[in-house]
């Protein structure tokens, strides 16, 4: 395969572009519209339900400060995840240092830590009653001033530590997919290392960075658990306050429209960040940048940088959980593990795998259909599929409930006895449906970032050579976007394993997942009992990460050997 990566600006490819974006293929375009409808329906159901009964609608008093806090939190988390995730991705893909192969996949693991667990672990360790401040007070005396951890900054730290893997994963696959020749060309032409990085590598990774950033910000926007621990009142907290505190679901939905406005801003920002510049690599998949060996203290400093992030976001909390679990095992008379643990585990894995497969398949379909054209409607529809991620899980769950209830009513009106019956909460259909609505965004972002690097020329050539759209998908697009698809599977699977509000709301009788079980214990503050199942979530999430990276570790190992 030719190694020449050529930067093609799709914006100026004139007639070819028109051909590609013109009429599209009706079936594929319809698939995108259908996916968009699926995502929009539950959200619309909630909004219509809310607007249908416009009442006094008590907005929370300090909505102004809430908006400011939301902006600050999103900005802070966005910036720090970009620095941590992007920086680490650059470090592990372009350098070789001790423990790199291990670290390069371990750095994804904090993603497996549900934020509500990390928040509690963090506070129980660093807050006024915890061991760290206790020790400091013993050393410095009881009156000594100690920093308050329950602040916006504390929330930014904890959320960045769980969310940076989004940026890391997408940036890393962008760098691995990036052909080394561009960077080498820049270097040969006299650019220094940092100049080549900033002028060539970063701009080419920009679509991936923007996509990841959008995910991080939407996740930050809908978080309720972590911000609550840190007394940070975001707009989402406002929604919950109105809903649960004022017993006014309709007013809450009106307020959640405001959350959607933030989401639109995020997605618009992402488009802006990606800009008009589209960098395609003519040669398709690259072999990645050649690793530069960091020797001596530099190598260890690099390892230490990775380890410190990993330590704070994963190793320490896992150790704390393990400590609690051991304490529970030593002191508890009850059996350590619920006898139904295996059942919960199987439930989690099943639903997460199904959701991951469906989301990845849909994301590939959308990316493929967009390539086939279809015009602005398809483009808007494709973008609309990502909205679900910006809507709190509980709202989506209720949207699915309401939507199914309407269908049920219509069916009964049409004379179908019993309507849909109890389809939505009597089986896992509702959960799956809501998962797809919510998690199609990470799948789409991952796959789309891969598609963005495939030159339209490839699509065009295949089509002009008489390839059918289906063959084009399986022989051209799928192989080229396979890394994106794999990342999509992993992201959705992990997200789905730790997901809580949707499964809590929609599960049928007798259906419990690990995340529900952990939450039930954690909610009642049985942290010692919750520790072991929480570790179970982490363990399950490690599996897809392992599969994703065993593969790419092989690839990278090859590159390193080649380098030597």
């Amino acid at each position: 395969m030719s190694e020449t990566a050529v930067l093609v600006d799709a914006g100026v490819s004139g007639p070819r572009r028109r051909l590609l974006t013109g009429n599209g293929r009706p079936m594929w375009s319809a698939a995108v519209l259908l996916a968009a409808a699926l995502v929009v329906t539950p959200v619309a159901a909630v909004v219509i339900d809310g607007l249908g009964s416009l009442n006094s609608g008590s907005l929370p008093q300090d909505i102004g400060p809430m908006i400011v806090t939301t902006v600050l939190l999103m900005g802070g988390v966005g910036l720090s995840t970009l620095l941590i995730g992007g920086g680490l991705a650059w470090l592990v893909t372009a350098h070789d240092f001790p423990l790199r192969n291990l670290l390069s996949w371990a750095l994804v693991l904090p993603l497996a830590m549900p934020a509500y667990i990390l928040g509690f672990v963090f506070l129980s360790t660093f807050d006024v009653g915890g061991p760290v401040q206790g020790m400091l007070r013993t050393v410095l005396g009881p009156g000594a001033w100690l920093p308050d951890v329950r602040t916006l900054a504390g929330a930014v730290v904890v959320m960045s530590l769980t969310l940076y893997p989004y940026v890391y994963l997408l940036a890393r696959s962008a760098l691995v997919e990036q052909s080394a020749t561009t960077y080498d060309a820049a270097r040969t032409l006299g650019a220094g290392r940092s100049r080549a990085l900033w002028r060539v590598v970063v701009p080419m990774a920009r679509p991936s960075l923007a996509a990841a950033l959008a995910l991080v910000m939407m996740e930050t926007l809908t978080d309720f658990a972590t911000v609550q621990y840190f007394n940070v009142q975001t707009v989402s907290v406002g929604v919950y306050l109105v809903w649960k505190g004022s017993f006014d679901f309709h007013a809450a939905t009106q307020l959640s429209v405001l959350v959607l406005v933030f989401a639109v801003a995020v997605l618009a920002g992402e488009r802006l960040l990606r800009g008009r510049s589209r960098f395609h690599q003519k040669a398709g998949r690259g072999e990645g940048l050649k690793s530069r060996r960091l020797t001596g203290w530099r190598g260890w400093a690099a390892a230490l940088a990775c380890l410190s992030v990993l330590g704070a976001g994963f190793i320490l909390p896992v150790a704390q959980l393990a400590g609690w679990a051991v304490g529970e095992a030593a002191g508890g008379s009850e059996p350590l593990l619920d006898p139904r643990f295996v059942e919960y585990l199987v439930n989690s894995v099943t639903v997460a795998s199904l959701a991951a497969l469906v989301c990845a398949a849909l994301a590939l379909t959308i990316g493929h259909a967009q390539r086939l054209g279809g015009g602005p409607l398809v483009a808007v529809a494709a973008q609309a599929t990502t909205f679900g991620y910006a809507v709190p899980g509980a709202v989506i769950g209720i949207g699915v409930l309401i939507a199914f209830a309407r269908v049920d009513e219509w069916l009964e009106l049409a004379g179908v006895p019993g309507g849909t019956g109890l389809l939505v909460t009597g089986s896992v259909a509702g959960i799956l449906c809501a998962y797809v609505v919510r998690f199609i965004a990470p799948a789409h972002q991952a796959v789309d970032a891969s598609f963005a690097k495939i030159s339209p020329a490839l699509t065009f050539s295949a089509l002009s050579l008489g390839s059918t759209p289906r063959r084009l998908l399986t022989r051209v697009h799928l192989p080229l976007a396979r890394r994106g698809a794999a990342v999509a599977l992993v992201l959705v699977a992990i997200d789905a394993v730790k997901e809580l509000p949707i499964v809590l709301l929609l599960r049928p009788f007798g259906f419990t997942t690990i995340s529900v079980w952990v939450y039930e214990l954690a909610r009642e503050n049985f942290w010692e009992k919750a520790a072991l199942p929480a570790l179970g979530i982490v363990a399950v999430a490690v599996i897809p990460v392992y599969f994703l990276f065993r593969r790419s570790a092989g690839l990278k190992a090859g590159a390193v050997t080649h380098d030597q």
Binding site: Q61, D62, F120, L123, D127, V128, G129, Q133, G134, R137, P142, R150, N231, Q233, Y240, L241, K244, G245, S246, F247, D248, E343, N347, V349, T350, V351, S353, L354, L357, A394, G397, I398, L401, A405, G418, G421, L422, T425, G426, S427, V428, A486, P501, L504, L505, R507, P508, F509, G510, F511, V516, E520, R523, E524, N525, W527, I543, F547, L548, R551
Partner: protein
Amino acid sequence: MPRPKLLAACTAIMVPALALSGCGVLGIGKAPADLQIYTARHYDLEGAFGQFTEETGISVEFITGDDAELLERLKAEGSDTPADVFMTVDAGNLWNAARQDVLAPTSSAALDEAVPEDLRDPEGQWYGLAMRARTLTYNPDNVDPAEFDAEESYAGLADPKWNGRLCMRDATSSYTQSLVASLIDLHGRDRALEIVEGWMANNVDIMSNDVLLLEAIDAGACDVGINNHYYLARTLEENPDLSVDLYWASQEGAGTHVNISGAGIVADSDNAAQAQQLIEWLATTGQNAFVDANHEFPVNPAAEPEPVIAEFGEFERMPLNAEAYGDLNAEAIDVLAEAGYK
């Protein structure tokens, strides 16, 4: 090729998982229990329900969730709902469920006798079954309980002598909200705002968790907090050396603030008779089975509290006004926001 490998791996995980869960996932092939319960109360329900089934032969299954979400689920499911009983925490939630017409009015002489009048709905849409008190906790090394205001203990924490010594729960907590709602009910909005502002003026340290709060008091990071009594009972059980004592608030005044968990029969239940039988059992024979594991107080005066909380001594409670808790909760949030309490 790596891709088929990944797919193979996915399949390898999926197939046994699907086979194992099979019908469980699809929700078929299993006969439903006689009674199905939606509950936002989680504490050790298996024990109580198991005992009920043993005594009556009526099988029970339940699903746990959050209050507001379960209520929306009930409403959306409408007449298709499998639920017979809705069980939730906080009088405001019970009041709200009754207001949304998802609960059936019930008349039961047994329940009227077992549950004090202020702990049940006048139309019998719900009945309180377990009671928790939210009262003052303190570190005996740093506080002499005589320092508390015995008449208005909650308001008394606004006194400047507590400056820098207070820890309380956050404003998003329903515990905080219903306490402030009861203060509004008791003293009016202006006085309640004054009290909360007084706490704020004392630089109250606001925490997101009752257990962390107790640990902070134990560690001496603050001297006084407001806690649900059962968190202290539970923590004491684990660590008898805990340096935290309980003070029954407002004993010479309106009494200590309490809240309840309770249950009602779902309006669309197809098994209302047995549902009523369960609620009656929980309020009488089953009181201790239902409340003891979580160290809560029985609502039925005929039942004795379990030993750990009996140690806290007897106390006068503030009469519970569910309508006020529900109706004033939004105002409580307003008051908290106005005072800058987060």
